[in-house]
């Protein structure tokens, strides 16, 4: 362009530029490092807590009380208060375990995989997506523990020298689960905390109260932003991202092994690991959207979580939704292709059996409704996106219900067939865990920065090094 002539590449570049300018920006215009810092930290450091926060926490906390009542009654009476029985011995406990842990996976995907792929837009959503991961895994962990019947002996699952002179059976996928989920929780916690350290230092330096300075100072561990520290910090962050990426895939693969390693029709399928991982990301992005859309409006964060973010998340949801739809198709095809009468019977039971209405609702919520995301208009409409995300969350829950209950309730022997109906305690525990999840989330957005401040600074135009005298 320097010589004034226009070459074909220039035109191409120009076209690309005009194409990319149609996308909304990653950060709203006019922000400086100071304004970004002030805006995000003001949510935490504000003297006045917004009324909406109290209302939200009160509702979530009330539901958490439902959880405590359900757990207390369960501990007193045993798992007989639930609707499960032979042959449906895995019911809500396992459905909800898989549902919650799947939701958690989007947080790791955003923080680790999108970091490795250099997707800068992840920056403003990774912090609360990681928090969502932690809280979802905490909720997920409750269920297998409570399902054990004697949860106070949960430590028998860990290999430790004991007076019984016994060790766990390492050939069982359920023991793999213990290792996978506890590693996942610990690594996610470390990743989240490491990401928080520089922001905790910012809060320490800006907190107006003595208690705030002390607590944030303690948590920041004396972080001072030294260039040598940043150098190692960046390396750690990258390495943790590299470690979390295969970890997150392994966790849901192992969860799917709980099913796939058994010989039950509907569970014994090689498509399970990829299909479960795709489903997890699908459900997780739906939950990120459910959280992000009200949060950005309520706290006025539209400059940081822009329409660009929502659009990208909607596209990922659409893509993973198609993987999941392919999974449903393959399940049906393999059942037919296997030539096994038990597989045929299972599929017939899914389509026309007593739980058929749930199977068809699953297809509606998970496959039909999300197709609306093909339209740009829908992706740019926050209300529509929110409703589709809710639909996907319901759909993914139904998917696990179909997998667990429909496969179990009619096994190989017709004499042992039985229907499964959840009781009020099943629902109480489920609603209660949703309450716990949202209570933790409300506390998180009040006391910790929900967007990574230091990473937002790097996105600003002023952050680039422009040396005057080299």
């Amino acid at each position: 362009m320097a010589n004034g002539t226009t070459t074909p590449t220039d035109i191409e570049n120009g076209e690309r530029r005009s194409l990319s300018s149609q996308l909304p920006p990653v950060v709203g215009p006019g922000h400086t490092m100071g304004s970004v810092t002030d805006k995000i930290s003001s949510v935490v450091l504000a003297q006045q807590t917004p009324r909406g926060w109290f209302i939200g926490l009160a509702i979530s906390f009330a539901l958490t009380m439902v959880l405590l009542v359900s757990v207390t009654y369960l501990l007193a009476k045993g798992v007989g208060i639930w609707g499960l029985n032979v042959p449906v011995a895995w019911a809500f406990a396992i459905i909800n375990f898989v549902w919650w842990i799947g939701i958690g996976h989007a947080g790791t995907l955003i923080s680790a995989i999108l970091l490795l792929l250099r997707q800068e837009w992840r920056t403003s959503i990774n912090r609360f997506a990681e928090a969502m991961t932690l809280f979802a895994v905490a909720c997920a962990g409750l269920y297998p523990l409570l399902h054990m019947g004697r949860p106070w002996l949960f430590y028998w699952l860990f290999p430790y020298p004991n007076t019984m002179a016994m060790w766990p059976n390492f050939r069982s996928p359920l023991v793999w689960d213990v290792f996978a989920v506890s590693t996942y929780l610990l690594i996610s916690l470390l990743f989240w905390f490491i990401g928080l350290i520089p922001d905790l230092a910012t809060l320490r330096d800006r907190s107006p109260s003595k208690v705030g300075r002390f607590v944030y100072g303690l948590l920041a561990m004396g972080w001072r932003g030294s260039a040598r520290h940043w150098h190692r910090y960046e390396m750690t962050y990258l390495l943790l991202a590299g470690l979390s990426t295969p970890l997150v895939v392994s966790v849901h693969t192992i969860v799917s092994f709980d099913f796939a390693v058994s010989q039950l029709p509907g569970w014994h399928a090689t498509v399970f690991p990829p299909y479960f991982v795709a489903g997890a990301i699908y459900a997780g992005f739906a939950m990120v959207l459910i959280l992000a859309i009200p949060l950005r409006r309520f706290y006025g964060l539209q400059d940081f979580v822009t329409m660009r973010h929502l659009d990208h998340m909607a596209r990922i949801m659409l893509a993973t939704g198609l993987f999941v739809a392919y999974g449903y198709m393959m399940e049906t095809f393999m059942a037919w292709y296997s030539g096994s009468v038990y597989e045929h019977a299972l599929m017939q039971n899914r389509f026309t059996g007593p739980y058929a209405i749930w199977y068809w609702s699953l297809l509606l919520f998970n496959v039909v409704i999300p197709q609306a995301l093909w339209l740009t208009k829908v992706r740019r409409n926050t209300t529509a996106l929110f409703l589709i995300a809710v639909s996907v969350s319901i759909g993914m829950w139904l998917e696990r219900f179909i997998i667990v209950v429909v496969s179990l309730h009619r096994d190989f022997l017709p004499s042992s067939w039985e229907m499964y109906y959840p009781t009020v305690w099943d629902w109480g525990l489920y609603l209660g865990s949703i309450g716990l999840f949202f209570s933790l989330l409300f506390l998180f957005i009040r006391f910790l920065p929900m967007i990574s401040i230091f990473e937002m600074r790097t996105l600003l135009p002023d952050s680039e090094v422009k040396e005057s005298n080299p």
Binding site: T37, W167, W176, W230, H231, L243, V465, E467
Partner: protein, 177 residues
């Protein structure tokens, strides 16, 4: 002021000025120099001569130790200490040991990464002299600081002060020990 000093600190308001200043300090012959920034600045690594960190090696060792420990635990419990026939499978049914071995590898590497980073950085550190400069609180907001430490062989309070002032900082301040 007879109190010992940690060094002299110059404050800049944009990253480019800090990187140029760090480079000039190195060219001037200062070696005990550190920079403080509100976000990671890759250009500083080269300007300050920060060499590659040992962290990747530490993480590799952590991963190998974790993996060996996980596999060893399963081998020892399933084959030696508590041999039990499950569905007629061989005692050393190694493919079923892979998931736990993998998880232990990631756990070992992750723990070594975090503890290694904190250890090499000397964190947690309850006290550091740079916090004695009141304006240093802005280092976690939008200001950039360059500190030449008094342990530097070339450090001379007047001369170094003069050198830092010539870099056109917003302010030069003394960091008390």
């Amino acid at each position: 002021m007879s109190a010992k000093i940690h060094g002299l600190m110059a404050e800049f308001s944009d990253p480019g000025a800090l990187v140029s200043a760090a480079r000039s300090a190195r060219e001037e012959g200062y070696v005990r120099v550190d920079a403080y920034t509100p976000y990671p600045l890759e250009e500083l690594d080269e300007a300050l001569g920060i060499r590659h960190t040992r962290l990747p090696l530490i993480v590799l060792i952590g991963g190998i130790l974790g993996g060996l420990a996980g596999f060893g635990l399963q081998y020892w419990t399933s084959v030696i200490d508590y041999p039990i026939n499950v569905g007629g499978r061989p005692l050393f049914s190694w493919p079923s040991f892979i998931p736990v071995t993998f998880e232990c590898t990631v756990l070992g590497a992750g723990l070594f990464a975090v503890l290694g980073m904190l250890g090499l950085n000397g964190l947690p550190q309850p006290y550091h002299p740079v916090f004695n400069v009141p304006r240093f609180a802005l280092a976690s907001r939008d200001r950039f600081f360059l500190c030449i430490e008094s342990t530097d062989p070339k450090f001379d309070i007047d001369e170094t002060w003069g050198f830092l002032s010539r870099l056109q900082p917003r302010q030069v301040s003394q960091v008390d020990e």
